[in-house]
């Protein structure tokens, strides 16, 4: 498959098709609607399921239904739509069925706007859905990563019987850049569905897929099974990208688009002689805790850059126990910071370090 100029929303939708996605349920919302439109055309022509639902509430519950039937299923939406999906996400997690959600974040709160934002980090990483539950959250920074992580999301969801979220933003959904799509995978045959799926109780005991356990002891035991799965995910599925960190005194910590644009600022700063690199978490859950902790032991300061008012920074503080100074630069409400702004923040932090050294 050759590289082609691809729009993010179309790219991840087609990547899902090629990953063997058998059912898509969604509702139009900017800035991800092109994904729904792509699926509206592609899924029926391949004989797969597509429904434009009456709401995101219905869409996620259609996903839930198809997931209980044991097929590869996904939905995509943007922030306000994803808020409506919280109920269904909790049930899907509570029933331990696999599903994939692509969230193309936009400015909020409320109706907000349709500009790129990262202000749903806390919602997706630390809850949103009720109950002691986690979703794997993967943050792409390029259209290529958006494609690759969407494919991977299906495998992870199935491996752990959990929800995998691809947390993109409006700029990734709307931008076009060269990328390569994966080869077409043949979807599973109907008789190859997982053993736990609802396929009709033919020659076996009936299956019940449910999330209700009235006895608190039983509910707790079930929760502990979920927690064991989360520990396994934390041990095996950490993903991050490091750039220019060799010998760096300052590490910029940023995910997704914020990480990408920070790299431009980092190169400009390095050209000015500032030793700065980038630590870009790709898996936001599981958060790359160990690696970040080690990093905080060898740099002098961290600069967290986000397209929100400061959400991932709480995790950076927690993980590093603030053993080095942590500064924040963010724009919110759909404003994408310019690399020059990040460069200015790097210069400021660098100047701070130089002043401290002078005092010492």
């Amino acid at each position: 498959m050759a590289r082609a100029l691809l729009k993010g929303n179309v790219a991840f939708a087609e990547a899902a098709v090629r990953a063997g996605c058998e059912a898509y349920f969604g509702y139009p919302i900017t800035p991800q609607t092109e994904a729904l439109e792509h699926m509206a055309k592609r899924m029926p022509e391949l004989g797969r399921a597509f429904v434009q639902a009456e709401s995101e509430v219905a869409a996620i519950n259609m996903v839930y239904g198809a997931a209980t039937a044991g097929v590869r299923v996904m939905t995509s939406s943007s922030s306000p739509g994803v808020s409506l999906m919280m109920e269904g996400l909790s049930y899907i997690a509570g029933t331990r069925v696999p599903a994939v959600l692509v969230d193309v974040m936009r400015g909020g709160p409320g109706l907000g706007n349709i500009a790129p934002a990262q202000s749903d980090y806390a919602q997706m990483v630390r809850g949103g859905p009720h109950g002691d539950m986690k979703m794997i959250v993967l943050a792409p920074a390029t259209v290529q990563e958006l494609i690759d992580l969407t494919v991977e999301a299906f495998d992870l969801a199935e491996r752990y019987r959990c929800i995998t979220v691809v947390l993109a933003d409006g700029s990734l959904g709307q931008m076009m850049e060269p990328a390569e799509l994966p080869p077409m995978r043949t979807p599973r045959a109907a008789d190859e569905r997982p053993a736990w799926a609802l396929t009709g109780a033919r020659g076996r005991e009936p299956h019940a897929l449910t999330s209700i356990y009235l006895d608190p002891e039983q509910e707790e035991a079930y929760n502990l099974e979920l927690q064991a799965t989360y520990r396994a995910i934390e041990a095996a599925e950490v993903r991050y990208v490091e750039e220019r960190l060799e010998g760096a005194r300052i590490a910029v910590v940023a995910f997704g688009t914020a990480g990408r644009l920070s790299l431009t600022a980092i190169d400009a700063a390095r050209a000015e002689g500032i030793e700065v690199g980038l630590f870009r978490p790709v898996s936001l859950y599981p958060f790359p805790e160990e690696r970040l902790r080690q990093l905080a032991e060898r740099v002098d300061a961290l600069l967290v850059v986000e397209m929100n008012a400061g959400q991932m920074i709480d995790d950076v503080r927690r993980v590093t126990r603030e053993r080095v100074p942590i500064r924040f630069y963010g724009r919110t409400g759909g404003v994408v910071p310019m690399p020059e702004e990040v460069l200015e923040a790097i210069r400021g932090l660098h100047a701070e370090l130089v002043r401290e050294e002078a005092v010492a």
């Binding site: 058998e22 639902a53 509430v57 219905a58 609802l198 396929t199 009936p206 019940a208 449910t210």
Partner: protein
């Protein structure tokens, strides 16, 4: 004198449905859920579809329906059973998918999901129990509660001026082009129970034939929250609910005649 043989030569005329699990239910004495469960199970047995059927339980007293039916089951969030059923049916078109929902679930919190499942002509069967009250949470006003009916959240009786009017879901959904079969039946006596079973059978057959959305509304009792005895509850259905919720087939497939009320 020869002693007559004592070997019984009896032919069973009624037996426990295969599609009903041999589990005692948690339903209150006098509740008609048990009758409705049995009717659905008998229909599944008669059509020979037990191993090809997937049920969707809802939120309400029937939340544990999956413990009582010997078929594969999913359990939906409150009101969302038609959406789950859509997801299952669209990816398992060779299976028979039914939801089992109460009136709070279907007519209140799930009103959008049921309306649009009907509008899409979703090829599923909906079993809708209407007892005009929220049973599981302890007797609050439902969208189907009758004017003047006392509940814990309409203690002075439902006042349409401030609490609105009851929704007649069968009549409403029968207006939708995607609905192939919509009927209301009652479980208050034997004759009506037999009619209810016939309607349920039709609702599954409509799905087998791929004709579209099918729903059977069953007028049901809630002795506990109505504050009536089991017998008085059945009479309440007959005397109060049936006049407010007329029985009948509101939509039938074009090839079929309407059954008399």
């Amino acid at each position: 004198m020869t002693v007559p043989t004592l070997t019984p030569r009896l032919t069973p005329v009624v037996s426990y449905p295969e599609a009903l699990a041999p589990t005692p239910t948690h339903y209150c004495p006098g509740c008609t859920h048990g009758i409705a469960h049995r009717l659905v199970a008998e229909v599944i047995d008669e059509l020979g579809i037990r191993e090809d059927t997937i049920g969707v339980a809802s939120v309400g007293c029937s939340v544990f329906a999956y413990n009582y039916f010997a078929v594969d089951f999913a359990q939906a969030p409150h009101g969302r059973a038609p959406a789950l059923a859509t997801g299952i049916k669209r990816t398992s078109p060779d299976k028979l998918v039914f939801t089992y929902q109460g009136d709070g679930d279907l007519a209140s919190i799930g009103s959008a999901e049921i309306l649009h499942a009907a509008a899409r002509g979703e090829n599923i069967t909906v079993v809708f129990l209407n007892n005009a009250i929220y049973g599981m949470t302890g007797g609050q006003m439902a969208p189907t509660t009758l004017p003047g009916q006392r509940t814990t959240s309409s203690p002075a009786g439902r006042d349409p001026a401030t609490q609105g009017y009851p929704l007649r879901m069968s009549e409403l959904l029968a207006q939708v082009d995607g609905a192939a079969y919509v009927a209301r039946r009652s479980l208050h006596d034997v004759a009506n129970i037999r009619r209810a079973k016939k309607a349920l059978r039709k609702a599954f057959e409509v799905q087998q034939q791929g004709l579209g959305f099918a729903m059977v509304e069953l007028l049901s009792s809630c002795p506990t929250n109505w504050g009536l005895s089991a017998q008085d509850s059945l009479e309440y259905i007959r005397d109060v609910m049936v006049p407010a919720y007329p029985l009948g087939e509101f939509k039938v497939p074009e090839t079929e005649g309407r059954e008399a009320r």
